[in-house]
Symmetry: D2
Subunit: 304 residues, 4 copies
């Protein structure tokens, strides 16, 4: 991957860390076991979050440790941890866990349609050298954002979406192939405006991230700003969520709102709402890329 | 009306004003006519708001003028203005208008159930002598808030609501009689938890103000905090709206939200949400009492 | 302590918990030791927070465990934990720690002057039975809030503050005696408007909590809303902080802001600012009472 | 001016309007005279704001009228209005007024240093074709943002700032010449990091707009995020203001804050604060460009 022609100087470099995330059936002593393990390998914990969900009886944690003094590779940490993780699982309730290295940039493919504000915002953050993401490709069902991707040195693929079902399916297959070529950590639907078919939702489960331009569950479906104007609400919002087969109903990562008034037309709301969309997507996606989000049922734990 | 035993010193007194509000079919020159009228009687305008709704073709205004230098009573202003107002109407589209005097306290009756936080907040604001309202009575379907009303010197009426339809109807009739005895400017449903029957909604149209404990239109109906927890939203809210026959679907006056996380149980949301409920009701009700709200269709103009 | 005559039904009861808070010099393995200890006594952790401050090299934690299944009194937990705590200290850097029982209400004395909005808000929260505080007494340098305290069944002490230094000092001595009689967990300056002398600041270090009506460090000192109006800011705020000898410069617990505009007079700001003051004090004081706040230097860790 | 290579489709076009702004000594009847004039030429007012400042005795208004049905050029409106405006002035208190045409893009020159987030955000808004601005040039005291300007088709001028006073003065003269060549409506200091000399402040009075990375008046001067961290505040902010000779003390147009915690290092605050800086600058600058801001003394009226 070559650097963006628009790359800018970064803030002071972030500390090199390994991030451990884990979800398992809850019981007493899990924290002690994990902490004991980390103390045993001499790890210096810089951030630690825990959450026990009383309803599901499931335990979640995220722990960040300094990589430098550890003198172990990420792979060595994984191998050292494996026996303990196996203890934590139960019949039919496998532990989900991973150890990542924050020096390894996460990979993303961004899907767009005509509106460029979210894409422009994300590419700017990457160029400002302080967003934990490498953009492998942008895929658009229109051509108009190709120059924007090109300016940032990102390959752009144009995949037109015909109105008929067969043509659309073929287009999705092409998109899937283009996406999967990069095995990305995130498939970002940055105002993509096309509904992912169930098989792609499943294939990219926990990786496909959508920005919806309403405060879900209000105003699901099409033209949410017009719905909001019609209803006369005093705040409009945006929601960043994992895409699932249930349209606009996936696990929510982040939401925010902005104030509107009777003076605002649907057009005004569209314009003002863009700021909320950009912010909410940028925050939610960052948390995903920093391994701060874990999904349980239709909800998320966000260790921010 | 005797003063509350808990009355406290007020801030500096507010200026004495007449408030003119008016809604009529839009056309050019309305502002000029109104402004010309006000200039003609020597009025000093301290606040002026206008709004033309392009969809309905309706024009709204609120103008505050200093009462002192005017040397006219409110009634004299009304009579002087009447001929002009008649000009502004159209066949089948009558002008809605009023002139109020901010030195005359607006009257309210407050309906409650068991939860006292909104009542306590409103009574406190009245005692702090800076809320434009006189509370004529509190009506509760339980007795537990009687001491709170009594401490503030407000009559409390206990009207039990039996579970059966006939008993409930009789209870509503009793409530209506108690409310109407005061001909109040506002009937405040401060977490009343009973659904107003259609005839009362109609009778109190534009005066019955409800606080709903969600960010409408999300989570209409019962137990909105449980619904919010179930859906995994990251913000919860409250909505102040006029009560209409369409439950939780009346014109919205004000809304706000507060941030929650995966850690918050429905109980936590209930507790934290109370702050939003109190604030949103207090703000929306204030605007209503200050003649800042006008309803058109299912929406409101709020001149704040 | 008898119940308030205005007490209202509580939400579902909160879980019975012991809360461990601890601050000590940072080193690897602290979390493991603490977690190992808790696992060893069979504790079920329901909430755990950690923070290492890189500048001071100090480690902070707050851990909540279920009391019921533990079959130990709070005192027994303290004794069991003591040896470990002693290990964590260093020469000249003693560990600060405590174990509290959330079933034991924290005690507060509230100091007021003429303005009652913060007092009224706090007493309402206590009556609504969901604020972790028992108010032992209210002390006022004016009499006008006596009826408010009385209505809630709280003893009120009137201590007039004469303008001369000697009289003022005597008044402070009287206040101190009245406060200390209760050995309170919090001395709440709820718009008290008198500057605590250094010896009282020291005596109540970490317990005296003030609400300042500006977004500190902006507009320290007198009449902050007038200062804010003069400067033409677009947001005004409130700050809850520990009172120290450096006026308006103590460790900040919580802050918030509200939007204002050119239309707002200092009087409007005073009125609107009250809502921020109430909220910010109520939040900051709650965190203090729930042992969520730890002070280091002039800053606070808030584990919310 | 050629279009940006990255230009994107706009939202529905905005209505063509003339905007009248005016500030004059207050007296009764001004609104009537203005409204009468507008009614006389058959103007359809779509938005009208008024404000009387009681302290200065000054009156401000902004009125937007539909251009299409008016059948007058902007210049004809100006000439028709002139006699009335002359009536409104007083000895030594000249009226400030203008009539602008929202179809004529306002011109801006943007001054930058190394950090590109504000520039990138503004250029993106212009490309998304919904920001009322044409960027004539970008001037930087470093070269690293040249590719960003170039990608958007904007001329970039590199003016190095030597550390010595004479060299700096020469650099400012060069900047002034480059700026003045465009006679811009706005000189945007988008994290320019150099202090404008008094003569340039005066020359660009009411046009030079700065973004300061703190919630002024807190943390004026250098390294505000470090100051904020040091003080332990719980919110950080950004302030958009007119640049004046009193550094960081000019009339404030817009401010906003974001929440931080003890976990945030100065570096974290820098990163998170960028979002506030971008938003606050974009909002404040938009209002300036839409003629919504009027300055009086050290304060602003913002008719948003």
């Amino acid at each position: 991957m070559t650097a963006s022609p628009l790359a800018q100087p970064a803030l002071a470099p972030q500390e090199h860390q390994y991030i451990l995330t884990l979800g398992c059936p809850d019981s007493t002593g899990i924290v002690a076991k994990l902490s004991g393990f980390l103390a045993g390998i001499g790890a210096w914990i810089t951030e630690a979050h825990f959450f026990s969900d009383p309803e599901s009886g499931w335990f979640f944690t995220r722990q960040a440790v300094r990589a430098e003094p550890l003198e172990m590779t990420r792979e060595e940490v994984v191998e050292a941890l494996r026996p303990l993780v196996e203890e934590l699982g139960e019949e039919g309730k496998p532990v989900s866990w991973r150890v990542t290295d924050n020096a390894v940039r996460k990979k993303a493919v961004i899907l767009v349609s005509k509106e460029g504000h979210c894409l422009q915002d994300l590419l700017g953050r990457v160029d400002q050298n302080d967003y934990p993401m490498e953009v492998c490709a942008v895929i658009g069902n229109h051509r108009n954002l190709e120059p924007l991707a090109a300016a940032h040195g990102i390959p752009f693929h144009h995949v037109p979406f015909p109105p008929d079902a067969v043509g659309k399916r073929r287009a999705f297959d092409e998109v899937a192939e283009l996406v999967n070529a990069h095995d990305p950590d995130a498939v970002v639907l940055a105002r993509f405006m096309q509904i992912l078919p169930p098989d792609l939702c499943e294939m990219w489960e926990g990786r496909a991230i959508n920005i919806h331009h309403s405060f879900l569950p209000s105003f699901m479906g099409a033209r949410p700003y017009h719905q909001a104007h019609q209803r006369g609400v005093k705040l409009i919002g945006a929601t960043c969520h994992y895409a699932t087969q249930d349209l606009d109903d996936g696990p929510i990562i982040e939401q925010d709102v902005i104030r509107v008034s009777h003076k605002d037309t649907p057009r005004d709301m569209q314009r003002e709402g863009r700021d909320a969309e950009k912010q909410v997507l940028a925050r939610g996606l960052r948390w995903h890329l920093e391994d701060r989000v874990q999904v349980y049922g239709n909800r998320t734990v966000v260790f921010d």
